[in-house]
Symmetry: C2
Subunit: 468 residues, 2 copies
């Protein structure tokens, strides 16, 4: 660890480990510093365990709702303890595989808390008190984020929990109250609702998934409510207390200004995440932070400190593992000679509810705000033969183009929406037109045909629905 | 029906009905002639019912293999009669919806057998003997195809059946013998194997899905065999007879030249399909056919008869519903002023086995044959976090580029492969490069990330596997 490194990376999540491997591919000597577990929140406590639990509970729910089975269906139960054991095995296997890859690429790993010291170099706090300086030519900061708290609702690891604990519960709570209807709240709410929990989700803003295309998420909200999730928007939480193992949460419904009160066995705090920027740099040579505490990085991902880059949740924007990974590639390449600017115009996202919500580019509201004369094509999955064969006709594909026919955004509610949005991401990143999508041949019968047909709809040329 | 039509279409399958609706969108007076059922083979007897049965049996199989359930799993049965009833309801609903759309678009439909008469006009045989002439400015022929037969194995509707009957069986056969390991044979074999049939599939050629990328389909063959499908290649069938409700099929294994014999309750004949071109034109003014009996159409989809276009299975090439539909759009537009040439370079296909096989563009063998210096990236789903959360790590993404980095083909084995191949189809139809795919941000965790990473692998820049 004493030699001089070409590249030192602080944080081994999906941003950090990707930049480490790319650095090694560029023939650089790379040190990756991780305080807890390689793979970060995404692999250990976030996306990956959530997706495993979503998949398993989906199978269980599909089973319970299957009308084409004979036998004692009501006696079938989900073996939750076993699912949880498998979940931790899945995570372990991924982490092990990742450590193998990192080593095989020639990246060195060290455990400890890295930070920028007063000389503009990296120090690692290995044990309490013990610190080591690491000489680095270039540094990438990738320390991620942590769940935000509310002043009157602090996680206690028992009744009041964050996503991390919520994904590792041994028992299915009878009543689960979720604060925040973002991706995390909706996914975890879905998991436990499928297992029989009475799930209530409170959101302070007027819609679920705030900031998303309103037409699309309003439709999703209707679908999720019909599936039994108790979703309430305009709900401002104001106080909470724990009493005999139950949490009482109180606040005001902002439209009616009437008070509300909910009781639950567990409360999941899912009101956003804060950047892990505290203590990341010495007082004398501070990193520039924005008002939210995110490290400020320019479009080349450079910070104010020379040779120091920052990526991922730490720099704000959309908190997505694949954003961090992509930034990791760009930062590592920029550190050693390239000058690629990050472009967030074609950054897709997904929420793994049922149906999935997947989105890329501008919402209808954002496009209108920008003064774009939009062309819009919306296709209901009612028009999809594939959806009918799957018995899954709830959903839609919405695609937006500007006046020159360039694709500027898409918002999808469909099974596997996350798998077929890449076509639109690619179209957007290459500046393609709506006609490029509608004239590309799509396999029948697939759900992705709905993308093609939504594109046709913008020109009133759809076949399987009536045009305007 | 006596008025003069702008456009008359013979055949209401996925080629014919799409061209009819597009003709109407072009403000033309359109007549659609269909002998049997609107929607054609695909909707009534092919893709759609197959996909419904595949989905239902998949749910059943997932249930039976689920180790995370508690309860009397062994007592759970698939209610096959109910599944079949639902299958016919799904088809009925699609057909009704389609008839509604066709009518609402102002297309007139008539039942009967259409053909080109000796005056180069369309005649319709309505009932036995009764014929009516239909005056048309332009004609599109879209009569589709029918299952091919073998001289010594003729469907009798009981023991020896075609795909149509195989999808409508009331009872699950104990032993099913499938002749032909193409898409139809593999899909139907999969359906009944999931329900407990002992399924044997015989293919005369050296690989399943002949003509496909060999590395990919050899892998698929291994997977399907491991799931319990008895697949034998190099098997030439030579004779068959029915005895006491059983079929005995005999032939020669071509590698060893040793004889084989199989007994089965049902034999599915799935050795290809023939174009429905017989009797489609009068002797005096014949349509040009190729040696296989397909109607010859040029790249504008024009036949040798003036003003007469032909599309879909009738003209040969790959027998795919979405090829027919796309040709339907092009033919209708070309009939009224456009001059768009069909381009089959980016025509994708899928086989809905488990995992799905999906493919677009050149195979590795075709590319090598053409003298292209290929760049190849293969990514195993072992490297996919999403695959691990789904418990579905069998599969791969293979992507091929030419020396100028242009994407020329892709071959995928993965759950939902058919849903994420559109990105590659689009890339190919727009002449994009491998770097356009690898630099487009893909959502984590998804299976479609494997497309991005296979693209990275062509340049030895993959992150989640070791490069060469």
């Amino acid at each position: 660890m004493d030699k001089k490194w070409d590249l030192v990376i602080i944080g081994g999540g999906p941003g950090g480990y990707v930049s480490a491997i790319r650095g090694a591919q560029l023939k650089k000597k790379v040190l990756l510093i991780e305080e807890h577990k390689i793979g970060g929140t995404c692999m250990n406590y976030g996306c990956i365990p959530a997706k495993y639990l979503l998949h398993q509970t989906k199978i269980y729910k599909d089973l319970k709702e299957n009308r084409n089975l004979e036998g004692p269906l009501e006696e079938m139960r989900c073996d939750w303890k076993r699912v949880q054991k498998e979940r931790s095995r899945v995570v372990e296997r991924l982490v092990k595989g990742l450590e193998f890859l990192i080593r095989k690429n020639g990246v060195e790993m060290t455990k400890g808390q890295g930070f920028m010291n007063e000389n503009g170099q990296v120090s690692v706090r290995v044990d309490e008190g013990e610190e080591k300086v690491v000489e680095a030519e270039k540094v990438i900061l990738a320390t991620g984020s942590s769940p935000a708290e509310l002043p009157f609702l602090k996680p206690n690891g028992k009744e009041i929990i964050t996503s991390r604990e919520a994904l590792e519960l041994d028992e299915v709570p009878r009543k689960l109250l979720v604060i925040g209807a973002g991706a995390i709240g909706l996914e975890i709410g879905t998991i436990y609702q499928r297992l029989g929990s009475e799930v209530t989700i409170l959101e302070i803003l007027p819609t679920i998934l705030p900031g998303s295309d309103i037409e699309t998420v309003k439709y999703l909200e209707r679908i999720l409510k019909a599936k039994g999730l108790n979703i309430h928007t305009h709900m401002r939480l104001e106080s909470s207390h724990v009493n005999a193992g139950k949490v009482i949460a109180q606040g005001t419904q902002l439209e009616s200004q009437s008070p509300f009160e909910f009781e639950a066995d567990k409360v999941l705090l899912a009101v956003g995440r804060n950047p892990n920027s505290e203590g990341l740099s010495a007082k004398d040579t501070p990193l520039s932070l924005d008002e939210r505490g995110s490290v400020s990085a320019n479009s080349l991902l450079e910070t104010n400190l020379p040779g120091v880059y920052a990526i991922g949740d730490l720099i704000g924007g959309k908190l997505l593992a694949h954003k961090a990974s992509h930034e990791g590639l760009i930062a590592a390449e920029n550190a050693f000679g390239k000058k690629t600017e990050m472009n967030y115009a074609a950054l897709p996202l997904a929420v793994f509810t049922d149906p999935e919500f997947s989105s890329v580019g501008l919402t209808e509201e954002e496009a209108t705000e920008k003064g774009i004369k939009i062309q819009k094509g919306v296709l209901s999955l009612q028009a999809s033969g594939r959806a009918l064969t799957l018995g899954r006709q709830e959903g839609m594909v919405k695609i937006l183009a500007d006046e020159r026919d360039r694709v500027i955004g898409a918002h999808i509610l469909a099974p596997n929406a996350s798998e077929f949005i890449p076509e639109i991401t690619l179209a957007m990143s290459k500046g393609l037109r709506i006609q490029d999508i509608s004239s590309s041949i799509h396999i029948h019968p697939t759900l992705s045909e709905a993308v093609m047909e939504a594109a046709m709809k913008t020109k009133n040329e759809a076949i399987h629905v009536l045009n305007d």
